[in-house]
Amino acid sequence: MTTTFTVDGHDVFATTGGVDFDPAKPVVVFLHGAGFDRTTWRLQTRWFANHGRSVLAVDLPGHGRSGGAPLSSIAAMADWVSRLLDAVGVRQAALVGHSMGGLVSLDAAGRYPDRVRALGLCGIAGEMPVHPEMLESAKAGTSKVRELMTFWGLGRALQIGGMVSPGLWLTRESLAVLDKAAPGVIHNDLAACNAYKDAPARAAQVTCPVTFVCGDSDQMTPAAKCKPLAAAIAGSRMTLLKACGHFMMVERPDETLDALKAVA
């Protein structure tokens, strides 16, 4: 099932995990990573929607089926999340984010503590610098950045295969989603990640329960770079998934779901 609502005058598209969105239930908002869209959360959203939560797996502005231009900074995206909650009539929600979406979730929780009841942060690090050649390729719209995001993003194990969902080939799925990104979106997102330096400060402000999900083979946001963030948040949990790269939601969907169940 899907829903569309309006934020800042633009349509926002979201899937709801197969159950109608009901703002009266505990809400979980899923935020995708740079260049991707809501479909990255397909193996987590349905469980939450069928277990007492109300789910919104959104396409960020300018991504997937959502209108508007992509927002140019992590802080702007976090502000947008706050307005998103206003638009759907929700005072407080759990935020589950991947990579860029994780930074957005963290920033929102730091600056809007009363709006965020829990955080699930997948594949994030205190800083997420992006190689200049990737930024250059993203700006030029060449395929190199999409290939590198896929190659460095997917763990080596899943580049061979053995996906838990039968018959799906993740390498090409990643490329197919990135290929669909509108011109400028990938560069916008990577530049936003590259510029964001506030993660440690925001982590220090977080008061809600937090779980971090890391992949032991993540080469984009290595678990070692996540640990200082986790250490800065009292009581936070960190789950390290084996044989898993940066795309834990699709590489190790069941284990990622299990980790998120504990907090969201």
Binding site: M1, G18, T39, R42, N50, K144, G167, L168, W169, E173
Partner: protein
């Protein structure tokens, strides 16, 4: 910064889709000869049925051995996902049934495998789905054949049996301009010689019985999706873009994005029509896939030598092999099939049907049977077998003459093959 170093074709043919068995350490793909799978608990069972988590429920829908084959073919065809089924015909049927219902229409190349032609031309109309067949080189005719109710453009990379090479980029443009996906039967080329998804096609199908297996011991079919077609923008595919009552109201495209077609084909097509591939057969096909690059290289070399030999023999009127400069699609073949145009091709014997009969009966190494893509060399007379259901008029439209013979050149020593063909040609010629 170095470029991405994705695993290459020969490596994927051996490894894609499989992690060594975590319990036993088995290096080979285990044959999971089971109909069903024990749920961890009640909660797990409900989650599986509700598509909340991935995994297997019942082998009609998915099986771990079959899943390795699916991922491997998806990897080799550069698709986002694949569905393996009991035959190539089952793959074609599930693809069509996933994309359209009663009132749907297909524009297809006229140069198709006889079974596909039969399904589209004779059987599906009974269920309200019709097809217009068009000469694959007549692009204008193809464009004009598309109607408001058209839902698919379909062709073969290398046509059967005339070896017509489909201009994939041009036909993809025709389909896409009309908001239609292009589906390609890539059986004759195999993923080693051509990846139609790289040339604009949206869906690829295989009769895996042929080159993918290569041994002639297992029947199977596979569908692969590029994950690129925008089903919603087209506005003509409610099976993929509207809530499906048969699965908790799922909007497949909204939830699964590039995997929408494969997910619907599996959760409806396999579940309801039921042409599941047996794990034993999937295992056989995986053994074949491991050597696909090696085999196809040799198939191509042998076929080119045999085609060249035939083209100078006085008993032969014409050889329809795209790798020969005389073939009308030679230039296109060099572009789309740079490693060669496969090893299945036809030639016309002087002397018509009787000459064909004498030729086939004199062969010793070539086996007379209805299959292609085997490691062993095969021969058949299309007019009396694979295309026997066609009228003389339809035969002519498909480019099949009474004296046409189709070869599937195998992996034997090519000198032995030519030594087998020589007396057979002499017998055909002398009468």
């Amino acid at each position: 910064m170095p470029d991405a170093k994705f695993l290459k074709f020969d490596t994927l043919a051996l490894h894609a889709g499989q992690q060594p068995d975590p319990v036993t350490g088995a290096r080979a793909v285990p044959i999971y000869q089971t109909t069903s799978y024990v749920f961890r608990d009640v909660e797990h069972a409900a989650s599986l049925f509700n598509l909340e988590v991935g995994g297997h429920i019942y082998s009609r829908i998915s099986n771990p051995t079959v899943a390795v084959l699916e991922e491997r073919v998806a990897a080799l065809e550069k698709g986002t996902g694949a569905l393996a089924v009991a035959s190539g015909q089952a793959a074609l049927h599930i693809a069509i049934a996933t994309l359209m219902g009663q009132g749907g229409h297909i524009v297809a190349s006229a140069s198709l495998y006889g079974g596909s032609r039969n399904m589209m031309g004779l059987t599906l109309p009974r269920f309200g789905i019709t097809t217009t067949f068009v000469d694959p080189r007549d692009h204008d005719g193809m464009r004009k054949a598309i109607r408001p109710e058209t839902r698919l453009v379909f062709g073969e990379t290398i046509g059967n049996p005339g070896g017509e090479v489909l201009d994939l980029p041009a036909v993809a443009r025709i389909a896409h301009d009309a908001g239609m996906p292009l589906m390609i039967d890539n059986t004759f080329a195999s993923p080693f010689l051509c990846n139609p998804l790289e040339h604009g096609a949206d869906i690829v199908m295989h009769s895996a019985t042929k080159f993918i297996g290569g041994h002639g011991i297992a029947i199977a079919g596979v569908l692969v999706d590029a994950g690129r077609f925008d089903w919603r923008a087209s506005g003509k595919f409610p099976t993929l873009t509207e809530p499906y009552a048969g699965y908790h109201g799922i909007d497949f495209f909204a939830e699964f994005g590039p995997q929408a077609f494969i997910m619907r084909a599996r959760t409806e097509g396999l579940r309801d029509f039921g042409p599941a591939l047996s794990p034993q057969n999937a295992f056989y096909l995986l053994q074949g896939l491991e050597t696909l690059p090696l085999r196809v290289r040799q198939h191509v070399a042998n076929a080119q030598a045999v085609a060249t030999f035939l083209s100078t023999n006085p008993a032969v009127e014409r050889v329809h092999h795209p790798d020969l400069p005389s073939h009308p699609d030679h230039a296109l073949a060099k572009k789309l099939l740079p490693r060669g145009s496969g090893s299945i091709f036809a030639f016309d014997l002087k002397g018509g049907r009787e000459a064909g009969k004498r030729f086939i009966e004199r062969l010793r190494l070539f086996s007379h049977l209805a299959n292609v893509g085997d490691a062993k060399s095969l021969v058949i007379h299309p007019a009396s077998t694979t295309h026997a259901q066609l009228t003389a008029e339809q035969l002519a439209a498909t480019g099949i003459g009474e004296g046409m013979v189709r070869l599937s050149v195998g992996l034997e020593d090519v000198d032995d093959l030519i030594d087998d063909l020589t007396p057979a040609l002499r017998a055909a010629h002398k009468g």
